[in-house]
């Protein structure tokens, strides 16, 4: 495998997409082999905040070695707040790309749901861009009318929107949107908050649909070494020899039936 390292990436642009939601393009060698569904570890310059912030890759420009991340500032004095203050020309330390990504190839010839909720929406974009399939339905859920990335999605598939406050599309969540439009799929790819993923997993099981979900957990290393970021697995995992899988290394994307959420 290629020698990996912590890299000082250059910030190319920074833009606010919605209240507290930022989009950043960075120049990085990590773009070369990046895949949709993978993430990068982003590091602050703050001596008080040493751990990485795992952030999904939202778009990849392999040719010119650029990555886009879209992230939420989670509060005051957070690492993500510090990221949001970076400007074009600044640098940011990253390690990546990390994790396994979505199994794109499985979608060939199938009717697909690409589902994203909240801050799980961004990784769906690169997935939508690269996916080749029979029918590509993108179902994305937002809190309100600030439907960030919407135009990009519309350029890459058939888009259904759900908003919690009903201001755009279906009132409710992505599951409500599916029901409202009576959509069907043979394979599902999803990223979003745990309750949403639980609902999707149940729906997929009920309808016997192959389903891939991207999980989140607190991380320390991001590369499989510290065992911080585990989720419960159905079978005994080959690496851990217990019912735990590492989200950073064995995931973040898992076959829904593999994991307990």
């Amino acid at each position: 495998m290629a020698k990996m390292e912590k890299e000082q990436a250059r910030v190319l642009s920074q833009e606010m997409l919605a209240a507290g939601i930022y989009s950043m393009w960075i120049q990085t060698k990590a773009a070369k082999n990046a895949k949709p569904g993978q993430f990068i570890s982003m590091y602050t310059n703050d001596a008080g905040k040493l751990l990485p912030r795992p952030i999904s890759i939202c778009e990849i420009d392999r040719e010119s070695e650029k990555l886009r991340v879209v992230y939420r500032v989670t509060g005051e004095n957070t690492g993500t707040e510090q990221f949001s203050k970076l400007q074009a020309g600044d640098t940011i330390d990253i390690v990546g790309s990390l994790g396994n990504g979505f199994p794109l190839e499985k979608a060939k010839g199938k009717k697909v749901f690409l589902m994203g909720g909240g801050i799980g929406v961004p990784p769906i974009l690169q997935l939508a861009k690269e996916m080749e399939c029979e029918k590509k339905r993108i179902i994305v859920g937002y809190r309100d009318a600030q439907t960030f990335l919407r135009e990009e999605f519309e350029a890459n598939g058939e888009v259904y929107i759900a908003t919690e406050d009903g201001s755009v599309g279906t009132k409710g969540n992505v599951m409500d949107a599916i029901r409202e439009a009576a959509l069907e799929a043979e394979i599902i790819y999803a990223c979003g908050p745990a309750p949403m993923l639980r609902a999707i997993k149940a729906y997929a099981a009920e309808n016997q649909i192959e389903c891939y979900i991207s999980l989140e957990e607190r991380m320390a290393c991001g590369i499989g070494a510290c065992l911080a970021c585990v989720c419960k697995s159905k079978e005994k995992d080959a690496h851990s020899n217990v019912h735990n899988k590492r989200i950073c290394k064995d995931g973040p994307v898992f076959l829904a039936t593999e994991v307990e959420i």
Partner: protein, 300 residues
């Protein structure tokens, strides 16, 4: 510049290893670090049977460091011997296997199983909760430490490093107990017990409530304990706790450690170990030390 150090009869090419649990079995970091450049690789803790560890969240960030309650998840000694030791044998570095257990029998089973394995040293993590001593760990009671050390030494085929917990009133008492039990070396410090409360969710940041604090914030406490231990025992000491630069490592050597381990810094500076090796060499050059051992314990 002679970087070699001799720890209880085992010669390392340089005084730098990694802290158990922060480097996986070495494999996970092999894309970042040339393992051949390390004096030794210390593996994550392994028990006689697989352990599932604690519920998540298992880690939290704290100012200038982190807290963990992994709960010593490990695949058990069998899979470890089959998979992880052969992986490390491909490299020109010493292998130190870190051992954990809830009770003496569990430690002893691992030590016995390792007898014929091609490893160089073993490190006994006595910060594990001791099933026979309430919420205290083996390492918090000098009597338990001496006894466990003696039991292990009786059957161990490789040199034994006892790894001490800093959560004690008097580290010298524990260091002396390890020495009295026959330990070939000691290593310290393990993590300091801490707690973080998420004031918005009004609950503990870690599922386990408490966790082990590590990273740069523990460095001054670790240096103090290594210094005190060095005044109290004659066996070699491996110093660790918060090393994130060669300078941090050198403090341990001057305070009396014969070697050092880099832990938490691996997580945010994945090739820090190589930098520490190079930085120690540069310091020796600048300060006219021919051998690492000439630096050890000179600040008194």
């Amino acid at each position: 510049m002679d970087m070699r150090v001799n720890i209880a009869g085992v010669e390392w090419k340089n005084p730098v290893t990694v802290a158990s649990g922060t480097f996986g079995s070495g494999e996970e970091f092999s894309d970042f670090v040339d393992l051949n450049k390390l004096g030794a690789v210390t593996t994550k803790g392994v028990a006689n049977v697989p352990w599932s560890g604690n519920p998540t969240p298992r880690v939290a960030e704290v100012y200038g460091g982190m807290m963990n309650a992994i709960g010593l998840q490990n695949p058990g000694i069998e899979l470890f011997c089959e998979r992880d030791i052969p992986f490390l044998k491909k490299y020109d570095t010493k292998i130190i296997v870190n051992v954990c257990g809830h009770a003496p029998e569990e430690y002893l089973a691992v030590v016995e199983r390792l007898a014929d394995e091609p490893i160089d040293m073993m490190e006994i993590n006595i910060s594990c909760p001791n099933v026979n001593a309430g919420f205290l760990a083996f390492g918090q009671d000098a009597g338990h430490v001496e006894k466990l050390t003696a039991q292990i030494k009786k059957i161990a085929k490789q040199p034994v490093i006892m790894k001490l917990t800093p959560n004690v009133t008097d580290i010298t008492e524990i260091a002396k107990a390890a020495e009295a039990g026959g330990a070939d070396a000691i290593s310290l410090i393990n993590t300091l017990t801490g707690m973080k409360i998420d004031i918005n969710r009004k609950t503990f940041a870690l599922a386990n409530k408490t966790g082990g604090v590590s990273g740069p914030i523990v460095h001054p406490i670790a240096v103090r304990m290594v210094y005190q231990a060095a005044q109290a025992v004659k066996i070699p000491i491996i110093g660790m706790g918060g090393i994130q630069s060669a300078e941090d490592a050198i403090e341990f050597l001057l305070a009396g450690a014969s070697a050092v381990s880099v832990g938490t810094a691996n997580f945010y500076h994945p090739n820090i170990t190589e930098e520490v090796v190079d930085g120690i060499r540069a310091y020796m050059e600048k300060n006219g030390f021919d051998k690492v051992s000439d630096m050890v314990g000179i600040v008194k």
